[in-house]
């Protein structure tokens, strides 16, 4: 749910990175955090287990420039990907303005990808959203690994509606900002439509 504050002249939007355990959601946010100027970011908060798995969420506030005199702020969240944290994932999806599904390109993670994508659809529906009507993009992460499935196959399997899709290596940052920009753009375009 975007928040438009006419008093402070700010637009706030919530973006959520979703995907199976270990697909690289947290790594996306860490890269964005590391590469963003001090004055354009807040603190990154990670509520994680001792083994650095996301327990509740990661949170990164970004402040992009101004549009028509309004400062645009994006609140980036990741969900915990591990299957048994479903209750937490539902909470994080509340009020979402845009979703990035991060897929793990490795062949051995295909079932996990499919399961997570179905879970995303279900959880959104439960909250009264529809994935196909939300700003939404897909990222194929871990392109550097030997067992990475060709993008065409991933796309067929995980992106039947052909939303914008990006290849990425989150550890080196490849594709990370392309994904973020694409999603942020869609969210702003949606805001325009809605007004």
């Amino acid at each position: 749910m975007s928040f438009i504050n006419y008093s402070s002249r700010e637009i706030n939007c919530k973006l959520v990175y979703y995907g199976p355990g270990l697909c690289g959601k947290t790594t996306n946010l860490q890269y964005i955090y590391n590469k963003t100027r001090e004055d354009a970011k807040g603190k990154m908060i990670s509520l994680a287990t001792e083994t650095e798995r996301t327990l509740f969420f990661d949170f990164l506030p970004l402040s992009l420039g101004e549009i028509r005199g309004f400062r645009t702020r994006f609140h980036l969240y990741t969900v915990p990907g591990q299957v048994f944290y479903d209750a937490s994932r539902k909470l994080i999806l509340k009020g979402v303005d845009g979703v990035c599904f991060v897929a793990d390109s490795q062949l051995e993670r295909m079932e996990a990808n499919i399961e997570s994508l179905e879970n995303l659809r279900e959880n959104l529906t439960e909250q009264g959203y529809e994935l196909d009507k939300l700003p939404y993009c897909v990222q194929y992460n871990k392109r550097d690994l030997p067992s990475a499935v060709p993008v065409e196959e991933l796309s067929e399997l995980l992106n039947p509606t052909k939303v914008p899709e990006y290849e990425a290596i989150a550890t080196t940052g490849q594709g990370v900002f392309d994904t973020l920009k694409a999603l942020a753009k869609q969210v702003l375009q949606e805001l325009r439509k809605g007004s």
Binding site: M1, F3, I4, Y6, L64, T72, A184, Q189, S195
Partner: protein
């Protein structure tokens, strides 16, 4: 419109700010945060400028969301208030008007009892302001964004 938006105009933000300021003084607390349930800060008062209010807002909302999840699982409608007590500082959080959270940070210079009492009064005031916010949102369109061009959006990312 697909996603519901929260739109706040100056008048209501000013009123909320006033309630927060008064609550901070009356309860003798350190800081007040008014946060929407999704973790976006609406107003802050007291020593809030020394705090990382963006982080705090997100965590307060996460905390309230998690507690709300627990309430649902045990079939309790909603825990309306929560209280975390530390050695020096404490936090009191309440849900107001179903979509806002009022968080009060306080120390030994006041008591939980006084904070609770003042929060109750402030909640009532906030609720009526929020009703006004809803009414306005339903009746007016925010036209600033209809004029956004693709170039405006692209420019945001040129750095």
């Amino acid at each position: 419109m697909l996603t519901p938006q929260l739109v706040m105009y100056e008048e209501e933000v000013r009123q909320i700010q006033n309630v927060a300021d008064r609550l901070q003084q009356d309860s003798r607390s350190q800081a007040i945060l008014v946060v929407d349930k999704n973790g976006q800060l609406i107003a802050a008062s007291g020593s809030a400028s020394e705090l990382d209010t963006t982080s705090l807002s997100s965590l307060v909302a996460g905390n309230v969301a998690a507690t709300g999840g627990i309430a649902q699982l045990i079939e309790e409608e909603e825990f309306t208030g929560q209280f975390h007590e530390g050695k020096g500082k404490s936090v009191h959080m309440t849900i107001v008007g179903r979509k806002m959270i009022l968080a009060v940070l306080f120390d030994k210079s006041t008591t939980q009892g006084l904070v609770k009492l003042r929060v109750k009064k402030a909640s009532v005031e906030l609720e009526s302001i929020l009703l006004e916010v809803d009414k306005k949102a339903a009746s007016s369109k925010n036209d600033v964004f209809s004029e956004i061009t693709d170039a405006d959006i692209d420019n945001l990312f040129n750095d």
